[in-house]
Structure formats: structure tokens, C-alpha cells
């Protein structure tokens, strides 16, 4: 009985699916495979390669690069993008001294409750404060950058590709095949962005936007690489500790596992039968 019912249920689902399959196939025959502008012209799946010191299982941060990246962030990105998850005190891990961190924090304006009056008041930042929210009044919604390399496919390579991937003109074929994808007013064509047109104007449009304190020449490409490296740190400040701990832990576990395997062979020596 249970088998008869089950065969009936199985056939019911099969017929229902066959019905979906038939109608969908007819539809597919009419429409053909779906085409989107992003799939045909987007480069999200062929990002530029970016090599960072933090890559790979033994990767560590290049502190000099992080510092340069922070200079790019605070000089360029920070006017529109917040970095809410990062605290000023974290900057000592980028290579700033505690005194320098204090200075950097003091330049920020933090709106917080005044302990004496209980009112919300502006005051200079302290190392204990997080980077403040950024008010942006223009077109689009600049995302917070604290987790951006973890929140996008491709991570740092995506950030680097996006920053250097603006193109002045759209391919004529794109506009012909997908008129909706024509770059609109106040938008900018960037094939690395999900829907090809992005509200953010090219942020690193010219060389020398920032002056690096270590004297490195601030080319567009250099700035894009440095800020991508800095954002990896902002998203994963634990990376170095994670890599180091992981290496020792895995080596230790290998040792334990080999010992465990040997004791297993020893215990089973007479029971194997082959």
C-alpha cells in the first residue's frame, strides 16, 4: 500500500514538473537564452590581478602600503565613504604611533553626548572613537567601506579594478543592443560595476591626488593598489594573527594526526586480516 501511494506521489510531482518543463521550454524557444548587458559587456568575472602582501596562507600586511592606503582613504574616499567599523585606536596596527593616532583622531569631529549636559555636541575625536558617519548629499548612496573587500565578489581585486576601470565611452554595440544601459545623466561607465553604470565619478582621475608621506609617487595605479590594500586591512584586521595561529595549529594537528594514525595501526595490527 505504502509503495502504491509513493509511486502515485512520485508520478504526481513528475507530471507537475513535466508541465512546468513543457511550458518553460516553449517560452525558452520563443525568447532564447536570457541576455543581459552585464553578462555580455561586464567584466566582473575577469577582474584585473592585484598582488598584495597579505595574499596566501602566510600573507602579512605591508605596513608602508597600508599607511599610504590610509592617506588615500582619508584624502580622497573619506569625503563620501564612512569607515564605521574601524576605530582610531586600530590605526596603531597600520604603523602609526599612539601619538600620531591621537592627532589623527583629534582632527575628526565626533557628535556625541556631552557627559556634563547630556546634550549631543560636536567634539574632537579620541583614539577610542570609531570613524564617524559621513553625510552625503549627492547622487547615489556611497557604501560604508569597512567591510567592502569582504562584501564584494573578488574582494581587493574588485576594488582595484573598479577604481581603475572607468571608461570614457561606452562600446557602440552595447548601446545598440541594450539601449537601457546607456550611461545616464550624472552616471559613469564602468564595466566592473554590477550594472555597468555607477554614480561615483572616477575618484582617482589624476595622478598626485594625495602626497604620500613616504615619498612614493602617487600615480593613479599606485593609489588604487594602496587603498585596496588598506581596505583589506580595514575588513580583516585579524588576518595576520589568523594566518600565524592557523599555521602553527595545522602543523600541530598534522603531528597529532600522524601519532593518532600510528596508534590506530598499532591497535588494529592483528585484526586487519590482510
Amino acid at each position: 500500500m505504502i509503495r502504491l501511494i509513493s509511486i502515485f506521489v512520485g508520478l504526481f510531482f513528475t507530471v507537475a514538473l513535466a508541465w512546468s518543463l513543457t511550458l518553460d521550454s516553449i517560452q525558452l524557444g520563443k525568447d532564447g537564452l536570457p541576455k543581459t548587458a552585464a553578462k555580455e559587456f561586464g567584466k566582473a568575472h575577469e577582474l584585473k590581478t592585484l598582488k598584495l602582501a597579505s595574499d596566501g596562507p602566510f600573507g602579512k600586511y605591508d605596513k608602508a602600503q597600508l599607511k599610504r592606503g590610509f592617506e588615500v582613504y582619508s584624502g580622497v574616499c573619506a569625503s563620501c565613504h564612512s569607515l564605521k567599523q574601524v576605530a582610531y585606536r586600530d590605526l596603531v596596527h597600520v604603523g602609526f604611533t599612539p601619538a600620531e593616532v591621537k592627532d589623527i583622531a583629534a582632527k575628526a569631529t565626533i557628535n556625541a553626548k556631552d557627559p556634563l549636559s547630556g546634550e549631543m555636541k560636536d567634539r574632537p575625536g579620541t583614539p577610542a572613537d570609531h570613524f564617524p558617519p559621513v553625510v552625503y548629499a549627492g547622487n547615489g548612496t556611497p557604501p560604508d567601506l569597512s567591510l567592502i573587500t569582504k562584501a564584494r565578489h573578488g574582494g581587493a581585486a574588485y576594488v582595484y579594478s573598479l577604481l581603475t576601470g572607468y571608461e570614457a565611452t561606452q562600446p557602440a554595440k552595447l548601446i545598440k543592443e541594450f539601449p537601457d544601459s546607456k550611461t545616464g545623466e550624472g552616471m559613469h561607465y564602468n564595466p566592473y560595476f554590477a550594472n555597468l553604470n555607477i554614480a561615483m565619478p572616477p575618484p582617482l582621475a589624476t595622478d598626485g591626488l594625495v602626497t604620500y608621506s613616504d615619498g612614493t609617487k602617487a600615480t593613479k595605479d599606485q593609489m588604487a593598489q594602496d587603498v585596496a590594500a588598506f581596505l583589506v586591512w580595514a575588513a580583516e584586521p585579524e588576518l595576520e594573527q589568523r594566518h600565524q595561529t592557523g599555521t602553527w595549529w595545522v602543523v600541530f594537528m598534522l603531528f597529532v594526526t600522524v601519532l593518532g594514525y600510528m596508534s590506530y595501526r598499532n591497535i588494529w595490527a592483528e585484526k586487519k586480516g590482510h
Partner: protein
């Protein structure tokens, strides 16, 4: 099972003798996973996944309880409290990455355990109850994992909650009120997050309870084995300790190495980037996909695209998704072949491997966007999934001619068995 030759617990210290009289807990452990539990000597490495699953549950409970000490289940701070764990709590990143990847490891191990059961007919009499409890554990795991995924309150968390509770709205008449009742509102919100946190803390202990029942029911008939031939004599078995504690022990090490490679070196490889974007009810992600371990079932859900008779497409999808797991409950009665192990079932064995391929295909499709040609392929794959369990298995078990079985476990290991000549 307690065979006539099973060893009896003998306290080695007066304190243990005293304890054994008052509360024979050491005796219970000895008979459950110690020298008192006789196990077939021929278990292969597919039998290690049960122990590993228990180990994963312990990892999840330990890391989870500590994470709960630092997490805050309130929509305005949940995302930030997760980042607080990652950045400010000592070793917090290890706990959270360990917990998130631990869930993936738990499912990977449990899928191996379940498919071991499919291949070796572990669900057959007299072990139906073990199987039924196992399916209950799997369902509880799915609910727990889903609710845990909602807790960081990222974009995927929020939209997963939206989609999964939305499934209940497909039920005729009571659907919409039921969905609102489950969410505690019209859309996922603070009430939803709080109840999911509460249940996510509770359910693992329910799982632990059912695991104990699962192991208890296992000890009635004793462990199955790769030949499917029942234990006949003393030479067929070895005591669990030290034989299987040693074997399980070293594979725990192996498991820990693979698991740790994920936790320490590619902690986000299995996750979705969108969940590092704070939940935003006003912005739907381009592709809403669950974690990889739900992909086969997600593909089944999405493969029903057209209304059929008086059933809406969405309702059919929901019914099929639940049926895809519920069908496992009936497996002991759908498969009536008296031979357990697929090693001796040439026809069933072929269909088993087809099922494995089918589920892998469904898994791939569940992670792919809901567009052609993926939908067509998932319709075919879903069809095969149901045909396998509901049509092929019952029919194959009636018409198949199995290969000859070995006389005993000992014979299968040693090539001959002294007891066979008697």
C-alpha cells in the same frame, strides 16, 4: 548490542565501585562507547562520519554558547555586534569563523553519513528507528542552521528570512496569517530576530537530545556493517574501545586539519559576500541564495514554475521541497530488498550513483541564478530525484537479483570463517 561475549564493566577503583552502585554512569559510558560495545570488525571509513557529526555538534555548541555571550539580538545593533566579535573580542574572529565554517563542516559530514546509509541500506529492519531519528536530526539541523544564518542581520540574513518564511504563505487559506505569526510582523524585524536567536540557542540542545536517542536506538540491534550480514559470532566483532576509538580518533585529527584550513585560511570561501552588507529592507539582492548545504533543496523549490491543476507553482515547490526530505522517512518501507548493502545489489548500486550525481547537479543549480537554462535542468534533476525514491527504489527492490552474500563478517575479512564449517 550486548552480545553474549560483550565484556562487562568492572570498576577498577573503590570509588568507581561506590559510584557504580549509586549511579552507574561509568557503566553506561563503558557500554555505549567503551569496551562493552561490540562492533563489527569490518567497518570502513564511511562509518567514521557518525562520530565526526557528534564532534561537529560539540564544536557548534561550545563556540555558539561563547558567541552568544557577545552577540546582541536587536536589529539596530546585531550587525555591529557581529563585527564587534570579529574585531574587539579576544579570539572572537576564531569563534565566529569556527562557528560559521563549523556549520558547513557539520552538514558535509552529515551528508556523507546519510549517503552511507543510502548505499549500505542502514535504514532497513531492524534499524528503522535509528534512521527515522536521524531524519529528525537532519530536519532540526536545517532549521537551526537557517535561523543561525539570520542572526548577523546582513543582506542575505534578512532576505533569507523573508524568502523562507514566505514559503509558508503558499499554504492555502492559513498561509498569510501563518507567515505573519512566524515573523511576528509583516516583514522580518526585531521580533523575528529575537525569536530566531532564542530558537537558535534552544534547538542544538534538542538535537543533542535526539542524538542521544539515535545512539540509544543504535545500541539495540548494534551497528550495521559494509556487508549487511548480521553479527554471528565473537570473531565478527571487536570492542568499540580501543579499536574504534583509535580509528575515529585519528580521523578527528584529519577532519580538524581540513576544517582548520577553512577557518584560518579561507574563512569566507563558503559564505556569500552580500552578508557583509547590513540588512536593508529597501534593497533586494540580485541573487538570493542560501548557504551551499541547502542548494539541492533550493533547486527543487525553484524548479516548479507553472501552476498545475488547482495547485499554484509556489505551493508545488514548497510541497516538493519538504517532500524531498520527508520521503526519507518512508525509505525503510519503500526499499523491500532483504539485502542491505549495495555491494551485493548490482542494479540498485547503479541507481545509487545516479542519485549522487543527481543531487550534485541539483546542488550546483541551487546556487546558480534562477534563469534558463538552469531552470530546465533543475526540472529534469528534480524529476529524477522523486522518481528515484518513489518509483525506482520500490521497483528495483522487487525485480533485482542480488549477488551472493558472504557467510559472515569474519569470512568477508579473512576469506574463511571457522564457524562456517560447523
Amino acid at each position: 548490542m550486548s552480545f553474549p561475549w560483550s565484556k562487562e564493566y568492572k570498576p577498577s577503583h573503590p570509588l568507581m565501585t561506590w559510584l557504580d552502585e549509586k549511579l552507574p554512569l561509568p557503566r553506561l559510558v563503558y557500554n555505549a562507547v567503551g569496551g562493552g560495545y561490540e562492533v563489527p570488525r569490518n567497518l570502513n571509513y564511511f562509518w567514521n562520519f557518525g562520530f565526526l557529526a557528534g564532534f561537529c555538534l560539540v564544536i557548534q555548541i561550545v563556540t555558539g554558547v561563547i558567541l552568544a555571550m557577545h552577540y546582541s539580538g536587536e536589529t539596530s545593533v546585531a550587525f555591529n555586534s557581529t563585527e564587534h566579535i570579529m574585531r574587539d573580542v579576544n579570539w572572537g574572529w576564531m569563534l565566529r569563523y569556527g562557528h560559521a565554517n563549523g556549520a558547513a563542516a557539520f552538514f558535509a559530514v552529515v551528508y556523507m553519513h546519510i549517503f552511507r546509509g543510502f548505499y549500505y541500506g542502514s535504514y532497513k529492519a531492524p534499524r528503522e528507528m535509528i534512521w527515522l531519528l536521524g531524519v529528525v536530526i537532519f530536519l532540526l539541523m536545517m532549521a537551526t542552521a537557517f535561523m543561525g544564518y539570520v542572526l548577523p542581520w546582513g543582506q542575505m540574513s534578512y532576505w533569507a528570512a523573508q524568502v523562507i518564511t514566505g514559503l509558508f504563505s503558499a499554504i492555502p487559506l492559513v498561509g498569510d496569517p501563518l507567515k505573519e505569526w512566524l515573523l511576528g510582523g509583516f516583514a522580518p524585524g526585531n521580533a523575528t530576530l529575537n525569536r530566531f536567536f532564542s530558537l537558535h540557542f534552544l534547538l542544538p540542545f534538542v538535537i543533542l537530545g535526539v542524538v542521544i536517542l539515535h545512539i540509544w536506538s543504535l545500541h539495540i540491534p548494534g551497528s550495521s556493517n559494509p556487508t549487511g550480514v548480521e553479527v554471528k559470532s565473537e570473531s565478527d566483532t571487536v570492542p568499540f574501545h580501543p579499536y574504534y576509538t583509535a580509528k575515529d580518533g585519528w580521523t578527528v585529527g584529519l577532519f580538524m586539519i581540513i576544517y582548520s584550513l577553512f577557518v584560518f585560511f579561507m574563512p569566507n570561501a563558503l559564505g556569500h559576500p552580500d552578508n557583509y552588507i547590513p540588512a536593508n529592507p529597501m534593497q533586494t539582492p540580485a541573487h538570493i541564495v542560501p548557504e551551499w548545504y541547502f542548494w539541492p533543496f533550493y533547486a527543487i523549490l525553484r524548479s516548479f514554475t507553472q501552476n498545475f491543476l488547482f495547485f499554484e507553482a509556489k505551493l508545488l515547490g514548497v510541497m516538493a521541497m519538504f517532500a524531498a526530505i520527508l520521503v526519507w522517512f518512508f525509505l525503510p518501507w519503500l526499499d523491500r530488498s532483504p539485502v542491505r548493502s549495495a555491494t551485493y545489489r548490482p542494479l540498485y548500486r547503479k541507481f545509487f550513483w545516479l542519485l549522487v550525481a543527481d543531487v550534485l547537479v541539483l546542488g550546483y543549480l541551487g546556487g546558480a541564478p534562477a534563469e534558463q537554462p538552469y531552470v530546465l535542468i533543475s526540472q529534469l534533476a528534480t524529476m529524477y530525484y522523486f522518481l528515484h525514491f518513489l518509483v525506482i527504489v520500490p521497483i528495483v527492490s522487487s525485480i533485482e537479483r542480488p549477488d551472493p552474500l558472504p557467510f559472515s563478517i569474519t569470512e568477508s575479512v579473512l576469506g574463511s570463517d571457522g564457524a562456517a564449517k560447523l
